[in-house]
Symmetry: C2
Subunit: 149 residues, 2 copies
Amino acid sequence: MFKKILFPTDFSDVSRKALEYIKQLKGAGAQEAMVLHVIDEKELAVLSRVPDHYSQIIAHIEKDIAKVMAAIEAELTAEGFRVQLIVKTGRPLTEILTTAADEKVSIIILGSHGRSNIGEMLLGSVSENVIRHAGVPVLVISREMQQDA
Amino acid sequence: MFKKILFPTDFSDVSRKALEYIKQLKGAGAQEAMVLHVIDEKELAVLSRVPDHYSQIIAHIEKDIAKVMAAIEAELTAEGFRVQLIVKTGRPLTEILTTAADEKVSIIILGSHGRSNIGEMLLGSVSENVIRHAGVPVLVISREMQQDA
């Protein structure tokens, strides 16, 4: 049930907390962790304004990501997980759903920041859309306390 | 992290599936399961049309619920859980959030039916609102495959 975990992470504090839950699931049969970071293509759009620096900035971002991913891999490996690191560029929701389906994961574990604006309120947050469409169980770790609770 | 689980159940197939995940979490440190069934007050409204039969019907419903709850208790006890059964009448979302807060549960595990109408689309399903407001991790077990995926 918890064998193959997909862990989409944006490296935030709440993602960090989700990682602790993944470790704890080792005792419930978790064996494999796929760590997925999606570079949001919307956030890259601004780089089209500085075409001369594009590849330099991308290289810098990718280097930073690789470093953080390697640290997560080391942590999970130390707990006895088989780890696979995946970095994609695109829409986070789409990439999470595609990876979950292609890799036939048992469960998705992710941190959620809650809602920040009316657009998200209407469309649903990434975590809500993952739950709606993934077709596998989803464990959502939220910030300590929701301000709107 | 998984020590004290709140399991709100409507006794559906997808709730049944959630129960299997709870059992599996024993290995990850789960010790206590609070099984909560909320009798939706909206569904009782129709009974005001048959005041003469009200108490008889309620007694019948409560007897059925007690039977199913006892079966769940037996299953979880057999897995080594301390079990507490709770039946409340009210709005499911409110009762779930109140119980989670009052009992300081570690995690909420529930089945989700997905969305059924535009009203739910705008307001969010019970599981989505639990995630937004509970302030504790929520594991959502969905139906096998979402039709709208």
